[in-house]
Subunit: 475 residues, 2 copies
């Protein structure tokens, strides 16, 4: 069974990988709503566990809000509802009754949470308020759906915070970005932080920082975002606090969220033509052991393989012993598709030599680990797989980014020449829209943390500018 | 602030406890859909962690199915839809479009899962199929709602299995009940297993075993259930397998589920007039440390309290140091309401004596633990709290159950005389309905695992019978 080439036809390769590794089942009878199968769900919950760890370590409390939002609450912030009006599912009946107030299934939880925040926040002593939830959310996507990347029921986390001042809210954004860096480190994914354009920011936000990564087809995928709301929601939802001087003020708010697209990115960025390659931190099985049985050998390979598994499991590794009655080659093939980072093969000769043979999923490198340094030897390889995946993905992203000074450098259609583009922009909406429309491309924004000073000319109007922008075709 | 008495007015006491311990917030603008606040959610996730552990240990794969079920799938099993027809929420619109096929938000996932099982199960080698999910589910309750006990968005787990034979499905029921016992042990909750009457079994089930526990008002609360479906669903959903002899057969199915009612039962069964009493296994904080500062003392109590916390945390206890600038008495009061099982008080004299003073939440007993046996000493007390809670709850349940031979023994209204009743029943529906209707009481069923042989007369018609039944007013 020949796989489709990742760089020849990314779209087809991706669907093929998701299906062959059995991460989800797309045959559920509602388009864009897929079934999480155990293997895919396990990876997602490992990703969630890192998210949860970061949020708990920074004193966010985990909450769980109702899924339904009354239409009356949903419509309080006008820009927000405009942004979601065409994307929400409406619950109109319960049992045989028509509901007096229609309900929305959350597309995100601002309008569910903020009426409660208005009750929870009374005084400056209640601030900052920091909560998060990991839940399912709903968007009626009209574009073509794709597992994990564009779905109609989305697994995601969202954190919401309230602060006494704009500055304190700004510090929260910085904390969010530190957490982000720790999470992405576990996924071995590079990313960019771009402050979105005014016309692309989140409905209701003061500003939005988009978190993007580059896909094999050189399109970008937004993995999540961080938003500073200032008082844009606290005014309509009446979230105020009594300051130390006795005056009542509106809180400043932020949110931060990322979705199951993280898994879509892991599959896309690290995988190769033989299957997934999972970063050890989020692999359901970090190690698979294949016993190499031989009728000629008198060594108890099966017993030794079990002992090996127990030893590795006791040291905290997630390990699978594949003792199915099947050829080793067939097992290699299965676990390569599933992306298990490290394969250990154990045969009679290995046992006699006091070693175990290993094969790395990422580089294909083979070698042996001495049994008397099994645990540190294994850890060393898994650590090196993490570093290698990171370096490779970073090199790909760097190579995919190109500085341009003329719009002519952008191919009209998607070709192998397509890149993520950096260029000068005067910052005006007119030039921005012109750029986007002429090349069917999106301005992702301007660097949230610029590296040094930029000097150039606006790629559209030619004016001198210190503003650098990035643009890409998006997934 | 005087609390309401648990046994004087259970209903009011319960609401008061849930609010004062801040387990959820009922002020969300949809009736019966409450917000899980961090403390309540943390207890629930600890309960879930034990559920997950049991299901993983018995080779159930965790899945996550879409929330929405198309009306067409939902209506395939006729008894099932009849059971839920008046209880489901209907999604009829998405964006500005009316949907071609209306969608139900799952009241339970048989009709979501079984079309997929029909694709997943091909041969006897695919069996048994064992999966579970921990999700939110929806019922349009028309009765009065009550936090955790009767809500419209319900947090629950559901496991679903497919087997080649009815006997293998029956073994699954036994496995489910073993898991149940382990989970209930962590919650220190006694329970009964009663095979529900024909008219009360789950819609579509061959038989249903209800899992009940007794509330302080002597009404029973159903915490969950286990169902044997035989082929009642596999026929309409066409879930077949190829047997070893080449014939195609329908699978036998079971399900098992319990909900957030587990938390409602923990609050109700263990709490007292001063607040919650949480079993250590599911307490977000098993231990709270209160430093007793004194201006006269030269001992560094604050530093010693931090060292004490770190030592207990390093040993794996969930521990909170309450170093707020407040009176110890006020702190005691707060943590008593929250149900923290063990309070440690540390003052200058304790430090000089090489001890820490403890107070048990369950019995109020006070004493000291020698610092040089801190870890085993603490563990011993927490273990004893678990045993004491179990014994007390079991004694209450035993006392609440009464064997009767005449229907006259049942009070017409709820009084302190109300009990759970055991009696002889001929088994016929007519006698069953007559019994239930005359006394506004429900037959919970007949013992799933009878203790010895029963001989008596039907409480309604007087016929000799070997069937014992249990009845109660339910929550």
């Amino acid at each position: 069974m020949k796989m489709v080439g990742k760089y020849e036809n990314y779209a087809e390769w991706y669907l093929d990988m998701v299906e062959k590794a059995n991460l989800c089942d797309k045959r559920y009878p509602i388009k864009g709503m897929n079934v999480w199968t155990p293997y895919g769900w396990k990876i997602m919950t490992l990703i969630d566990s890192f998210t949860r760890k970061e949020l708990e370590a920074t004193d966010h409390g985990e909450v769980n809000f109702p899924l339904f939002i009354p239409e009356t609450e949903f419509k309080k912030e006008k820009d927000h509802i405009k942004g979601f009006d065409e994307e929400v599912y409406w619950v109109t009946h319960a049992g045989k009754n028509e509901l007096d107030v229609r309900l929305v299934t959350r597309p995100t939880s601002e309008t569910a949470m903020y009426p409660m925040f208005s009750l929870w926040v009374r005084s400056h002593q209640d601030l900052p308020l920091k909560v998060y939830q990991i839940v399912n959310t709903f968007r009626y996507e009209t574009k073509q759906t794709r597992p994990f990347i564009r779905v109609r029921e989305i697994h995601f986390f969202e954190s919401h915070t309230c602060h006494d001042t704009e500055e304190d809210a700004q510090c929260q954004i910085e904390e969010d970005l530190d957490m982000l860096d720790n999470i992405m480190d576990k996924l071995c994914l590079p990313y960019t932080l771009l402050r979105r354009t005014e016309w692309d920011k989140f409905p209701g936000a003061h500003y939005t920082v988009g978190i993007d990564t580059v896909m094999p087809n050189h399109r970008t995928l937004q993995l999540g975002s961080v938003h500073h709301y200032r008082t844009n929601f606290s005014v309509p939802y009446d979230i105020t606090y009594e300051a130390e001087d006795g005056t009542h003020k509106h809180v400043h708010q932020t949110t931060y969220g990322m979705s199951e697209r993280l898994l879509g990115a892991v599959v896309s960025v690290h995988g190769d033509d033989n299957g997934l390659i999972l970063p050890p931190a989020i692999a359901p099985f970090q190690i698979v052991i294949i016993p190499i049985l031989s009728k000629k050998s008198t060594v108890d390979v099966a017993g030794a393989a079990e002992a090996l598994r127990d030893k590795l499991a006791a040291a905290g590794f997630r390990v699978k012993l594949d003792d199915r009655d099947d050829r080793p080659g067939s097992k290699y093939y299965d676990w390569e598709i599933k992306g298990v980072p490290l394969r250990l093969e154990l045969g009679g000769r290995d046992i006699e030599n006091g070693v175990v043979t290993f094969a790395r999923r990422d580089t294909g490198e083979k070698g042996t680990i001495a049994m008397d340094s099994l645990i540190p030897g294994t850890q060393l390889i898994l650590d090196d797989i993490m570093s290698t995946l990171k370096a490779k993905a970073k090199a790909f992203q760097d190579d995919a980014t190109k500085a341009i000074t003329s719009m002519d450098e952008i191919p009209k259609e998607d070709t192998s020449e397509l890149r993520i583009y950096s260029f000068g922009w005067c910052g005006c909406e007119e030039c921005g829209h012109k750029f986007e429309d002429e090349h069917d491309i999106k301005i992702l924004g301007t660097p949230y943390r610029p590296e040094g000073k930029f000097e150039g000319k606006c790629i559209v109007c030619g004016k001198d500018t210190e503003l650098q922008a990035f643009a890409a075709r998006t997934m």
